[in-house]
């Protein structure tokens, strides 16, 4: 069983990600890392794929990580975690360590998870290693300067899906990454955002209490790449959930559940906002709201179909 979140207790803890890192103003990634690692007990090892989080926190001779931490390469965070898990098992067998359980927490961006790191992730889940994979999804290759990824939504502007006269933004929808992980029969899969912080923290706690591969898909809006004011990061997360663009759910041992705000929307469909509310706060969709308006329509249809599919899975219909 996972322990409940105790705020008083957490407030007394020293953070595992220390201040002074080089993330941009308004970046939601360090918020997610702090929420995930708050209250995580030893022994723990953090693995990070190449990406914003890695380069912004470890510019030598400094490190922001006050926790055992490793970065190997871009596409192999899950394989690295597999090796760490195997090492602890072997060292336990020959009596070097006594710990029965080591928390192995991986942070991978959308590039390192949807795309280049997908094979390594799929292999590690299939083998059933005991680790928690946190996908921080800022919906493009932000570290290299906003290039489209498998996580970039339909119609969005990026530097490799520019808003051209012929092709306005990304022509494809987001890859349903969390569903694909569910299809691996992983014991625990969930979605979360830093705006719904208690929901995120409870999901992390639950995940860490389950053995095997766990996966939490966290939406991490990027002020630079999505083109919104850095003060609006949390608001963007809320709108992603309120419009059902990014529903909050968890899948545990074959059972689907909506959580937090998404559960409220399922109970009261009037709370569901139109997709424009989410789009208009970001400049990456400006063309969709001004001239290529079919993008809004198609996104709305896509969101609606994904949402009603989710409602069917949890046993509710809208």
């Amino acid at each position: 069983m996972s322990t409940p979140v105790n705020l008083k207790e957490l407030a007394r803890e020293s953070p595992k990600l220390l201040p002074g890192h080089r993330h941009c103003a308004g970046c939601t990634v360090p918020i997610v890392v702090k929420l995930v690692l708050a209250g995580v007990k030893e022994p723990t090892v953090v693995v990070t794929a190449t990406g914003c989080l890695q380069v912004a926190t470890t510019i030598f001779p400094y490190t922001s990580w006050y926790i055992p931490w490793i970065h190997n390469a871009f596409e192999n965070a899950a394989a690295t975690a597999s090796g760490i898990e195997a090492a602890f098992k072997a060292l336990k067998k020959r009596g070097v360590i006594n710990d029965d359980n080591v928390n192995i927490i991986v942070f991978g961006g959308d590039g390192g998870t949807y795309d280049i790191g997908f094979q390594s992730l799929s292999g590690a889940i299939e083998r059933g290693h005991n680790f928690l994979y946190i996908l921080y999804d800022n919906e493009a290759y932000m570290n290299t300067g906003i290039q489209r990824s498998g996580g970039t939504p339909f119609g969005a502007w990026t530097t490799t899906s520019p808003t051209g006269n012929v092709i306005p933004g990304k022509p494809q929808h987001k890859k349903p990454i969390a569903d694909i992980v569910v299809a691996h029969r992983a014991p625990y899969v969930a979605t979360a955002t830093p705006a719904h912080w208690l929901d995120l923290m409870m999901k992390v706690r639950k995940a860490l209490s389950i053995r095997g591969p766990k996966f939490i898909h966290v939406l991490t809006p990027c002020p630079r790449g999505w083109r919104f004011d850095p003060s609006l990061s949390i608001e963007v997360c809320r709108l992603a959930v309120d419009t059902c663009y990014f529903p909050l759910w968890e899948f545990e041992k074959g059972v689907w559940r909506l959580t937090d705000r998404s559960l409220a929307i399922a109970k009261n469909p009037n709370l569901k906002k139109p997709i424009e509310e989410f789009l208009k706060i970001q400049e990456r969709f400006r063309h969709a709201l001004t001239k290529d308006t079919y993008i809004v329509k198609e996104l709305q249809e896509y969101v609606d179909s994904v949402w009603s599919d989710l409602l069917r899975r949890v046993g509710t219909t809208s």
Partner: protein
């Protein structure tokens, strides 16, 4: 104390697996590829039968195999992997990560040509291509040496002065699939020789203390950081220095191992035959050395002054040892089992020529590229190379400095 050990009929792959079984390896992660497959099959059997405590991670690619070994070694485990050709190519970026993170991983590479066209037979293009990745490289001549070198490799890799990954190269099929008599040491003797991995300690300024340089789950250290123009170069220099220090360690371990087993491989870097009074010397790596030595013996019986040097290490490259040996030799033929399109000769040739540039003797050095994609090297061909070299030694101008041997024109 010398231990004789029993004789077993093992092919090269089995010899590698047998040694790994005895070396207290914590984590094995590998992906099957011809002709390495027998190694992973045997190791899987040892693990499945509970003969060893090792965790075997059956990954979905060679990229993940080395990534897993990096994670395991970073967490303090002794890690082993094995691959070949395309598999080694897929591991490429991680070869540099392993050496840059100073992780003493040991890998057997069963040498095989690279695609395209796809080919499963032996040449050294795969491993020679990785020469600058900061891995120590051994090229073994037979299954016995494959067995012995795996045992030595863990000791060399994990030496506090070295802390570098080691690659043991054995020729695909010639060694991997050929049964030989191999004298194996008892399990407890090997275990005693290699011990268990003891991670080195490092001083961490922000902790104000020395800590083991591994992810133990408690000590907050960061591995795999980003270092830019202000620090990256110093990290690379540390790898270069460690590789230099490995020279002494390779020598020491070769000696220690010979005291234990009675088997030494020259000074650890190279073995040679007939070089002392030779006019013409062939330099070769891998299993072809046997053929070359056989021909050299035959020719010497006829009174021809020929010799052979078999290089065991390519990294670190034994340039000083080579220079000493070749100081009175007039003609040197360097046999490369790899190509370098566009270069003036193949990689081993370039290394040898560079090593001898400052040597007063300045022998004529020619390049014989052979055995590409498993093309057979017959004693007859070696005889031709020696007669070519002997003529050069007598003053004949070489018809060309770089020759591709045994290929259709």
């Amino acid at each position: 104390m010398r231990v004789v050990g029993e004789v077993r009929a093992l092919n090269g792959d089995e010899a590698v697996a047998y040694a790994v079984r005895q070396c207290n390896v914590d984590v094995i992660s590998a992906y099957p590829i011809t002709p390495q497959t027998i190694i992973v099959e045997r190791l899987s059997e040892y693990v499945a039968n509970g003969e060893i405590h090792t965790e075997y991670v059956n990954v979905e690619s060679e990229h993940s195999a080395l990534s897993t070994c990096i994670g395991a070694a970073a967490a303090g485990a002794r890690a082993f992997t094995a691959t070949s050709s395309q598999g080694l190519a897929l591991m490429w970026e991680l070869l540099y990560v392993a050496s840059g993170l100073r992780l003493p991983i040991v890998m057997a590479v069963v040498n095989r040509a690279l695609s395209a066209p796809i080919n499963i037979h032996c040449d050294h293009s795969d491993s020679i291509g990785t020469r600058d990745s900061g891995w120590i490289q051994f090229y073994v001549e037979n299954s016995q040496e494959a067995y012995d070198t795996v045992i030595q490799a863990f000791k060399i890799a994990e030496h506090p002065d070295v802390q570098l990954p080691v690659m043991i190269n054995l020729d695909g099929f010639y060694l991997s699939h050929t049964l030989e008599n191999v004298r194996v040491l008892p399990d407890d003797v090997v275990s005693g020789f290699v011990g268990f991995r003891k991670p080195v300690k490092v001083w961490v300024p922000y902790l104000g203390r020395e800590v083991p340089a591994v992810l133990d789950g408690y000590t907050p250290i960061s591995l795999g950081i980003i270092a830019l123009s202000d620090y990256y170069y110093e990290f690379k220099m540390m790898v270069i220095k460690a590789m230099e220090k490995a020279r002494e360690v390779i020598k020491e371990v070769n000696k220690e191992f010979s005291e234990l087993s009675g088997r030494a491989y020259g000074d650890g870097f190279l073995t040679h035959y007939g070089v002392d009074d030779a006019e013409a010397v062939l330099i070769v790596m891998g299993s072809a050395a046997g053929t070359v030595r056989y021909v050299a013996r035959e020719l010497r019986r006829k009174g021809l002054r020929v010799g052979v040097i078999r290089l065991r290490t390519f990294r670190p490259f034994p340039y000083e040892e080579l220079t000493k040996l070749l100081k009175d030799v007039k003609a040197v033929g360097v046999m490369d089992r790899a190509t370098s399109p566009g270069a003036y000769g193949a990689p081993l040739f370039n290394e040898v020529r560079t090593a001898l540039y400052d040597c007063e003797c300045r022998p004529v050095i020619v390049n014989y590229v052979y055995g590409i994609g498993g093309r057979d090297l017959s004693p007859h061909t070696v005889k031709e190379l020696y007669s070519d070299l002997l003529e050069i030694a007598k003053g004949k101008k070489p018809s060309s400095i770089v020759r591709y041997v045994g290929v259709r024109s």
